[in-house]
Symmetry: C2
Subunit: 104 residues, 2 copies
Amino acid sequence: MQSFKNVELVKKANIYFDGNVTSRTFIDSDGSKKSLGIMMIGEYLFGTAEAEIMEIIAGAVEVRLKGEENWVAYNSGSSFSVPANSSFDIKVKAITDYCCSYVK
Amino acid sequence: MQSFKNVELVKKANIYFDGNVTSRTFIDSDGSKKSLGIMMIGEYLFGTAEAEIMEIIAGAVEVRLKGEENWVAYNSGSSFSVPANSSFDIKVKAITDYCCSYVK
């Protein structure tokens, strides 16, 4: 069972889109900020401040980065990157468990 | 901002009721097992193995413990206890952010 050790876990959840996307922020042992979240089936637009690496732990999504025409599918075990100060559309095809790493 | 420090956070989410209840398990710095979770609006029946203390971080629920006739309301900042090897019905009236502590 994979786990993150020696982390600081924020108690209060992040709740987006009426609870259809929720996440828990934590500070990993190396000081980097990450979040573990759940996305229910649906379509969402997310903006980014910092750059992000989104790892799909379990689930199925299609993603279109800002400025791109094509949707790209990502499933369990795959990742995609999003630049800082950008956005992406995401279609969640099955309930999705993800880990978002914020990149300085 | 409240947080749990020096914890071990399990990567994979716990997903119940088609994703309407999800949680993240962590081991607190004292070695005790806890989870932080989200419940969407709905009605659910949960069984317990270990005894649990359920803290409502934000939200609104009504709870009926096994063997009880009455429903009791709990809102943000309140808690209820559930015995080991028991169960409880819960009506979630508003999306609810909770912390569950397992009691040995």
